[in-house]
């Protein structure tokens, strides 16, 4: 009973702190729901100015989309290659021990904590301005994201088959390939393709290294208040996002 009471008190305290923190954040963020409600018609009117989308410069936009897609795909691929070994070391259930697990997770945090455009700028020092630097920046940052999400997917995998494989005395890597991979493959595909999609959508990194990219065109069109062009660019991004989403669904079904 007293331990029950203590637990209840602890929960109450935690809940109170959470509410207080949220309230503070609410203040900082100047949340004002009434204003949002009243403003919605204005929002609609303002948004309507984007009609019809302006595809006059369509060829440029498509070229930019192609560049973006190329860089995002290669960058994500490279990131995934780096992530593949890392994720095994950074998952609680597959890491050889906390002496590997902790540094591996710290490394992942660093890779994610440094924005891809910062990595890209570093690589500018090595390979000069251009898409290659952007690609490398994307790869570094993506490796951190992919490995984190993968490691957490791996932690959720069914432990039984891995246990069975362990009893054969096989190496960790073989166990992972034989008993783990089939179980988590759809999840791995899902997150890798999400990161690819994210990189396709990402705006800042490629502009910084002078590599153009669709995100930069979007930012420019917004700066010029050219809503129909913004709309056109968003439609192109949407096509890419939808294609990647469809491919992701296909891959997950194949791997299921």
């Amino acid at each position: 009973m007293p331990s029950d009471l203590r637990r209840a008190l602890g929960r109450l305290l935690a809940a109170m702190i959470a509410v207080a923190v949220l309230a503070l954040m609410w203040q900082v963020a100047e949340v004002d729901l009434a204003r949002l409600w009243q403003g919605l018609p204005r929002l609609a009117a303002w948004g309507a100015r984007a009609w019809p989308p302006d595809f006059e410069d369509g060829v440029t936009l498509l070229r930019r989309a192609g560049e973006t897609l190329a860089m995002a795909t290669l960058g994500t691929l490279l990131g995934a290659l780096v992530a593949a070994p890392l994720c095994l070391l950074a998952a609680r259930t597959t890491a050889p021990g906390v002496l590997v697990y902790a540094p591996a997770r710290a490394l992942l945090n660093v890779l994610r904590g440094v924005d891809s455009f910062v990595f890209a700028l570093l690589f500018v020092a090595a390979v000069g301005l251009g898409p290659f630097a952007g690609l490398l920046g994307i790869a570094m940052h993506s490796a951190g994201s992919i490995a984190k999400l993968w490691s957490e997917t791996i932690e959720q995998a069914a432990p039984g088959p891995v246990e069975a494989a362990t009893l054969t005395g096989a190496s960790r890597l073989k166990i992972a390939l034989h008993a783990l991979l089939p179980d988590v493959a759809p999840g791995l595909a899902s997150t890798a393709l999400y990161i690819l999609e994210f990189n396709v959508r990402a705006s800042t990194v490629l502009g910084v290294v002078g590599a153009g990219g669709l995100g930069q065109e979007l930012k420019n069109a917004v700066d010029l208040l050219d809503s129909p062009r913004v709309f056109a660019i968003i439609l192109i991004i949407l096509v890419m996002v939808t294609a990647i989403d469809a491919f992701s669904a296909f891959a997950r079904r194949r791997l299921a």
């Binding site: 069914a158 069975a164 054969t168 005395g169 073989k174 390939l177 034989h178 008993a179 179980d183 299921a256």
Partner: protein, 228 residues
């Protein structure tokens, strides 16, 4: 203490609740020992402690001469590789075929690239097929584990342990999901192996008549508490 299984005073508790209390048994090399006991008596816990899938709280557990309770690291890994295990809930890789699951038994000796590309050595493939045939699943070798019936899955798990070809086989109710004919087939197969190859079998069973029919010795485990 050469070969076989020896358990002395083995105990294991989960969160302070005893799952296995002071269990002792001996299964000499080449013998077939059946483990009986009510549901919750600790049969699975005992077998898991023997393979060090669980860490016993006290007592000793020797498998094939090795002190499983005391090993760690590389030595543990090697000792484990000498134990075949049939899990009560099979633990198949559900998205792999029956054949691929059976091939899991020789994972340790299969080169990495073969594992990665799913290209088993022809010899291994043959012996895995043979094992599936022996448990009556030759015609379902290409079916994925999650497309198999309960009894078929259990037989794949048995085939995997056979393929591993170890000195000791720990089997956790390996015929629970099988019809009488299949069950008899599996148990007499194991019995034959104890004779032919000196395999030591420690096997938990529910059905007394099967234990009486096949086991050289029967060990009864009582529930550590008044659990039904």
């Amino acid at each position: 203490m050469s070969g076989g299984v020896v358990v002395r005073g083995l105990s294991k508790a989960y969160d302070g609740r005893a799952a296995l209390r002071n269990a002792s048994l001996t299964a000499p090399r080449g013998s077939f020992v059946a483990l009986l006991g009510p549901s919750g008596a600790g049969k699975t816990t005992l077998l898991r402690c023997l393979a060090r899938l669980a860490d016993p709280d006290g007592g000793e557990a020797f498998v094939d001469g090795r002190p499983m309770h005391a090993l760690s690291g590389r030595a543990l890994k090697e000792a484990r590789a000498r134990i075949g295990f049939v899990f009560q809930d099979f633990n198949l890789v559900r998205r792999r075929s029956a054949l691929e699951n059976a091939l899991g038994g020789v994972l340790a000796s299969t080169p990495l690239w073969r594992v990665a590309l799913g290209r088993p050595r022809p010899d291994d493939a043959r012996s895995a097929m043979a094992a599936l045939d022996r448990v009556g699943l030759g015609d379902r070798a290409d079916a994925r584990a999650d497309e198999l019936s309960g009894g078929q899955r259990q037989r794949v798990a048995i085939a995997r342990a056979l393929v591993q070809d170890t000195a000791v086989l720990l089997a956790d109710e390996p015929v629970a999901s099988l019809d009488p004919d299949s069950a008899a087939g599996v148990l007499s197969l194991l019995k034959d192996l104890t004779r032919e190859r000196g395999l030591t079998v420690l096997c938990s069973l529910h059905q007394h008549h099967l234990a009486r029919a096949y086991a050289d010795e029967i060990v009864v485990l009582a529930a550590p508490e008044g659990d039904l």
